[in-house]
């Protein structure tokens, strides 16, 4: 599904390298977690994959189902099936949540040459999905993320993910700022989307999210590349001992 090979990325403005030979493969249907100390390049990776400006790719490749992601516009990447649940979802004043999502769904459908969803069909689907995420109708009418609590914003991200039905979901610290109940709700939402084909890349600082969303593989990222990969136990190790031991082990 997602193939990142020896990816090198610098900040456009500062000539500073962030990703230094990142390689990572997420096969179809698998959930991979990425953990790592602050500043290791986790968020940069999610931005570069989704096409945010301000970064320069100086080497390496990233493909989704064999298609080169790095050549595409951000909206083309989305239509190709890449979804990023943001760490800090932005507010868009005056744009209703429903209008926003319907525009997104239909833009993607159009880009893929599919027929657009009618207003009635869209409404039916979004109501069902919102209900399962405990998002009330009022929240759908409000402007995108405006005045939402931290938990509401993250649930809204998962709702968007559910509506857009991507192939490859990247969750950038979706657990940050969530209380235990909200984390459960968000995790349930994610788990409901696991269907054996869809892949997930879950960026997190904390093992507790991985109690809810069980990963197949855990990667440790440091200084712009993956330094260690392993099973779910690796996350427990980090939780107990921090990164110092792993980093020392890698350096040795």
């Amino acid at each position: 599904m997602l193939n990142i090979n020896n990816l090198h990325v610098e900040l456009e403005d500062e000539d500073k390298a962030i990703l230094k030979g990142l390689s990572l493969t997420v096969p179809a249907g698998e959930v991979h977690a990425i953990m790592g100390p602050n500043g290791s390049g986790k968020s940069t990776m999610s931005y570069v994959l989704s096409g945010k400006g301000g970064y320069e790719v100086t080497g390496g490749t990233a493909t989704l189902d064999g298609v080169n992601l790095l050549d595409m516009e951000p909206d083309e990447r989305a239509a190709a099936g890449l979804f990023l649940a943001f760490q800090y979802p932005v507010e868009i004043p005056g744009v209703g949540n429903m209008t926003f999502l319907r525009t997104a769904v239909n833009c993607q459908r159009k880009a893929r040459g599919e027929e657009e969803l009618s207003a009635a069909d869209f409404l039916k689907i979004i109501r069902e999905k919102a209900k399962s995420l405990k998002i009330d109708a009022e929240m759908l009418k409000r402007p995108v993320n405006v005045g939402f609590s931290g938990g509401e914003k993250k649930r809204n991200e998962i709702l968007q993910m559910a509506m857009l039905e991507p192939k490859m979901c990247i969750l950038d610290e979706t657990d940050s700022g969530l209380d235990v109940d909200a984390m459960k709700l968000v995790s349930d939402g994610v788990n409901a989307l696991r269907d054996g084909k869809r892949s997930f890349l879950v960026i997190t600082h904390y093992q507790r999210l991985l109690d809810h969303i069980k990963p197949d593989v855990v990667h440790i990222m440091a200084d712009g590349r993956i330094v260690k990969s392993g099973g779910p136990d690796l996350a427990l190790e980090v939780e107990h001992n921090g990164y110092a031991d792993i980093l020392a082990e890698v350096a040795a």
């Binding site: 516009e73 951000p74 239509a79 932005v90 833009c107």
Partner: protein, 508 residues
């Protein structure tokens, strides 16, 4: 000829809610009542004696009288502009009253308590609060309206005179001056001398020059340095007397680092003759200051056969004189038989910014030629124009805009988005953009200003699969909607209902 087939038909593909909303604006003019009140008129027509008389009625100093006379002499040599896409019978400028004052206002009331109850009742009927009371946000008496409502200070102008201004004492405590312009000329001559005509010069254009000669009243606002005006300010213009032109003049000065939000509302009785309204609004914005100026223009638009209505020929201009000065014009235009109006921004200071948001709805036989001018003089100046024109019946709606980037306006940006919607098969929509770019680092295009927030919003939309153009339109429309919803005061409620209007089926 059958009158049935000649009736404008609603075009296919136009959202029914939109049709209903636009029709409800056109069908019922709620403010068309007349106040039966005794008036003093100056003799009909305009000449130097009339100019002197208006000046004398306002007890003006000599310099002001001379300023008016100078304007009048210039006006006599000028001709009415003909370039706008509006058609109306020639106006006989000698067949109008230029000054009409309620008799009860002959002795200026000391406070609102002394104002003629009939006048107070008029404003009450219009829903304009002239009592210094807490105003509940939202519709009056609406259930669940917040108790901590906004307060709004009002200057009420009735025909040629200001009836009263509320909250003056409280504003004065903050150093804010809010009074009628006639009073400002007497009480604050230094400020008036310094700024009057400095944004819209006496000889600017035919109507502005006429206004300079014969303006009778209007509002004056001065916000001292580093002061956020403690409440919204507003002026409510009411034309009541027949065959009378209203010529008001507004001057707002936001000194360094200050902020004010200001709203203007306008209505007039239903009559089958046309009436002239030629106003001038000047905004002076110094370093780091900001003015938000909103208009809900609801002059009588004429009846369904095109009889009567106001000719609205208005010159509005803001001068961002200092660095980082900001101005935002918001207008909702549903009234007037003929509108000729281009609220403009002179972006003189470096990093200054101007924004213009407009919704113009024209029904029946209404004609609107409206837009803006963004004149970029300083470095890194930014402007944004969002205009929506909606035409129904036999109306003609024109957007006319100028974006000008001067040689020194390096790295300046403009974003323009104009949409029009034709609801019927007998109306028209026109777009006349003028663009001048005289340096090679500025951009005039369909791109939002590149502030950090906008970039992040844009990326967010695009990550969800929305292409760049659609994403920009979505964000900008949302912003415009937000702006309209934030219009202060009750009489903007109607405008808020219009926000629901969808431009699907728009002609571009």
């Amino acid at each position: 000829m059958s009158t049935i087939t000649d009736k404008p038909q609603v075009k296919d593909g136009v959202d029914q809610d939109t049709v209903d909303a636009v029709q409800s604006v056109g069908d019922k003019y709620k403010y068309g009542f007349e106040t039966d009140i005794e008036m003093d008129f100056a003799p009909k027509g305009v000449n130097e004696d009339i100019v002197r008389l208006i000046s004398a009625k306002n007890e003006e100093p000599e310099w002001m009288t001379d300023w008016r006379l100078d304007a009048f002499r210039r006006w006599q040599a000028m001709v009415e502009p003909e370039w706008a896409m509006v058609h109306y019978p020639e106006i006989d400028f000698q067949d109008l009253y230029y000054y009409a004052r309620p008799k009860s206002m002959a002795v200026k009331p000391k406070s609102l308590d002394d104002v003629d109850p009939k006048l107070l009742a008029t404003y009450e009927k219009l829903g304009i609060p002239l009592k210094e009371q807490m105003i509940l946000a939202g519709v009056e008496g609406a259930e669940g309206a917040p108790v901590d409502g906004r307060r709004v200070a009002v200057d009420a102008v009735f025909d040629s005179v200001s009836v009263g201004t509320t909250f003056r004492d409280e504003l004065a405590k903050a150093g804010v001056i809010f009074c009628s312009i006639s009073e400002a000329i007497r009480e604050y001559p230094d400020l008036v001398k310094k700024y009057l005509g400095s944004v819209v010069p006496q000889s600017d254009n035919f109507y502005a020059t006429l206004n300079s000669a014969v303006f009778s009243d209007g509002s004056f606002v001065y916000i001292p340095p580093n002061t956020k005006c403690p409440m919204e300010l507003s002026t409510y213009f009411r034309i009541n007397a027949e065959n009378t032109g209203q010529f008001e003049r507004t001057l707002i000065i936001a000194d360094k680092g200050s902020y004010v939000s200001y709203l203007e509302g306008c209505t007039a009785p239903k009559r089958d003759t046309n009436q002239l309204h030629a106003a001038v609004v000047e905004l002076v914005i110094l370093e780091d200051a900001e003015i938000k100026y909103s208009t809900v223009q609801n002059w009588f638009p004429g009846d369904e056969n095109g009889m009567g209505g106001i000719y609205n020929f208005v010159t509005k201009r803001a001068d961002c004189r200092g660095d980082r000065a900001k101005v935002m014009w918001t207008q909702v235009e549903t009234g007037s038989a003929v509108t000729w109006k281009y609220p403009s921004c002179i972006l003189r200071g470096d990093d200054s910014s101007g924004e213009f948001y407009s919704i113009a709805i024209a029904n029946n036989y209404q004609q609107a030629d409206t837009g803006t001018k963004m004149v970029h003089l300083g470095k890194n100046t930014k402007s944004r124009i969002v205009s929506k024109g909606i035409s129904a019946g036999r109306a003609q709606n024109t957007y006319r805009g100028l974006v000008s980037m001067h040689p020194k306006a390096k790295n300046s940006r403009n974003y323009t988005q104009c949409d029009s919607l034709l609801i019927g098969d007998k109306c028209g929509a026109h777009t006349v953009p003028y663009i001048e770019v005289r340096n090679n680092s500025s951009r005039v295009e369909h791109e939002a200003t590149t502030s950090k927030v906008d970039d992040d919003q844009l990326f967010y939309c695009r990550q969800r699969g929305i292409d760049e153009e659609a994403a920009l339109a979505l964000i900008v429309n949302g912003f415009a909607k937000e702006v309209l919803q934030a219009l202060p005061m009750e009489f903007a409620m109607e405008a808020q209902a219009l926000v629901a209007i969808s431009l699907e089926g728009s002609v571009g």
